[in-house]
Amino acid sequence: MSNDLTRLTAAELAGLVSKGEASAVEVTQAHLDRITAVDDRVHAFLHVDTAGALAAARAVDERRAAGEKLGPLAGVPVAVKDVLTTKGVPTTVGSKILEGWRPPYDSTIVQRLRDAGTVMLGKTNMDEFAMGSSTEYSAYGTTHNPWDLSRIPGGSGGGSAAALAAYEAPLAIGSDTGGSIRQPGAVTGTVGAKPTYGGTSRYGLVAFSSSLDTPGPCARTVLDAALLHEAIGGHDPRDSTSIPAPVPDVVAAAKLGATGDLTGVKLGVVREFAGEGAEPGVTAAFRDAVDTLTKLGAEIVEVSCPHFKYALPAYYLIAPSECSSNLARFDGVRFGLRVGDDGNRSLEEVMSLTREAGFGPEVKRRIMIGTYALSSGYYDAYYGQAQKVRTLITRDFTAAFEQVDALISPTTPFVAFPIGARTSDPYQMYLADLFTIPTNLYGGPGISVPCGLSEGLPVGLQIMAPTMADDRMYRVAAALESAVGTFTPPAL
């Protein structure tokens, strides 16, 4: 075990704290120091809550000293994507429109993190309102990929993924609407899991697209992701779309997978993704992963999901439609920015100036696309039709899962691209989510696990499972991890 506390896994850190071999304050301070040392170059954090983190760590140490039994993640630091409300701690969603807002309430996920005795280090950077695949659309500057600081860390949850890869935090929370947990995981060589929709609470998750948004765990190992998933998952009566069932036993599945035996597991490769323009290096790494999984005992077959090619267009109608409505509340009346209130202008003018100044270009584009798609006269052809395509994609998944236990694909078509390479053409940016979006439309779970390198940059394998069978993907991911190991970026 390394002497550097920041290089340890969450499971290891929790072990040290529970045995009294390291205090939660020491563990927390080590990560705060690391943030101080590297975050000016990485820019993973929008807000570091030093005082709050140390206070939470001290509370864990006091509970231990008092003889209390600690949970499996007590004393472990965690970074939280700035999309989740944190009581009294700034929450910006990467947008100017919420600059300085301190919510009067905690999201369910954050509440559960506190209950589990984890230590929240701060809030991580993201594309504004989680709309993007690179964090370049953050109003507060781009996050840099620790593997190559001139490249993007993925998005929208690039801050959470970069914080893990830069050893600023052992655990992080993300949210996945079209791939915002999995794609950053893939391009930073970390693990990112999107739980079944409804398996993790959206209460306090600032909504982008309500029917797709799913908060979930990010970590450097599959077991850590599973431990975090277990801590934050499960039914929440404050979220009407929360599934009233226990969290699948993802921790046991990760441990089972770590034995490296996938005998009896049948995996499907989606035929339609093969011709979808993945980079050669990504395709090569994916083929290697398929070989590895075969060696571990899995049976691999090809399956057809004929409607997946319509997933991207359907997504870019459904998500903007819901976003156009969800983001209407940012009007400078009850919270956040207000611009142009000179005592003369009307409310309508002030609202329009506020939204114009507060939202970035990508958010504005999506609001207008969504407004268009929901307009009378266009609804049936756009939003309505996209919802029907959603049904067909769900049927593709259902049919596939009659043949196989899980589906596999590369997580993203390309490795981390240079900062600025795709911002001039918005649609090119959308292609980053080509392989992750179908899962969101279906509502099932998906995980990205590092499977290799392409020209020195990480490639992720995506595993997609049936709804409420999150454990299956953890088993496969842990087995692959046991065979290929974890990936360490060059020293910063």
Binding site: T91, P103, Y105, R202, A207, T241, A328, L374
Partner: protein
Amino acid sequence: MTTTLPAYDEVVARFEPVIGLETHVELGTNTKMFCGCPTDFGGAPNTRVCPVCLGLPGSLPVANKAAIEATIRIGLALNCSIAEWCRFARKNYFYPDMPKNFQISQYDEPLCVDGYLDVEVNGETVRIGIERVHLEEDTGKTLHVGGATGRIHGATESLVDYNRAGIPLVEIVTKPVTGTGALAPEVARAYVTELRDVIRSLGVSDVRMEEGSLRCDVNTSLNLPGEEWGTRTETKNVNSLRSVERAVRSEMIRQASVLDAGGRITQETRHFHEDTGDTTPGRSKETATDYRYFPEPDLVPLAPDPTWVAELKAALPELPRLHRRRLQEQWGLSDLDMQSVLNAGAVELIEATVAAGATPAAARKWWLGELSRRANEAGVELADVGATPSQVAELQSLVDAGKLNDKLARTVLEGVVGGEGTPTEIMTNRNLEVVSDTGALTAAVDEAIAANPDIADKVRGGKTAAAGALVGAVMKTTRGQADAKTVRELILERLGVQG
């Protein structure tokens, strides 16, 4: 406008009106539609709010079971079909009293559809078709500051209180009502009145128009006989039963005057003004917002269990119209008498008094007589006059037992209204019981006969009617505490005359 308006009789002689009513009812649930904030009236501003009803980022709605149940009961009472599956939808428009800048409502999948309500106008039954009954959330309240009138025009700023935001609101929409001719305004009023009584009988809302828990929008159009329906206007801000009737009448007259002048009716929203009885134009529907309805993704569909719906249906109270008819028969009242009971708002009070043991006639006498008079004087509703049905029944039982005469009973009732206690307590405490000690009464009678020998002679001579003066004298000496009938019998007995 200086044009002379046509007389109402002329209007209905030439045009046929079509009306429609959209009524909003605030439900009397403990909590709001989508969060656990209380719905009680009159709190300090922004004290009944939480992240959900303030629309704070990240908050999510969860539907109130009691509100769903109340809406289904209203639907059943209005003879509607209850949807086996339906959804909430978002209605998108920007307005500061709406925290999320969309309203959670229902669009093409309402909870209840296709019912009717029978109302009586001039003794005729008119069946009003119900298009739909759906559930939505109320808005906050905006205070306009800086203008002369407190209205929006001329105001320099506005202040918003979200206490009301999110209170469950049931919208009841009628089908177009045709063929009512000159009676259209009265039909509109009768419908809203009957609807109010139905909802009150269900106990799901206090349905007070003056407090805004019952609000009404009235659609009106005119057409020539045999021709297609005309363009309709929607009159908002109609806040009393009387205004419903006035708004329809005034809008019919206004539209006729426009049509007479060769103009065309604009499809628009109009505002009713209580003071003048006129309507003035609001936003034209032709430039109205596209609400961009879509299914609310933060809520899951409703699929009321048919067994549950059947249970709710079986448990509905008797509807006011049938209930009133049954009571009228039981009480043996003419239509006119029943109408005066209704007008006084005394149906439930008399019913409860009868249930507590009084005869219908006695109960009606007290509530329509002495108590109505006192309620009028105090300017309060009859139900709030200070006497309960059980007290009135007890009072009557004391009269029936001969312990109180009519005059004493009224004195006791005054004590009841004044909060002195039960009728028996007041009678005892104030020593108001009828004098039944025959020794004392005989002495008083003898005294009266001795003091009025002329009258006594007349009575002895067979003019028994003259005994009244002697009764009066006895009542005076006993300070009214004797039973007049007993006194009279005693006088005749002492004078040796058969009664």
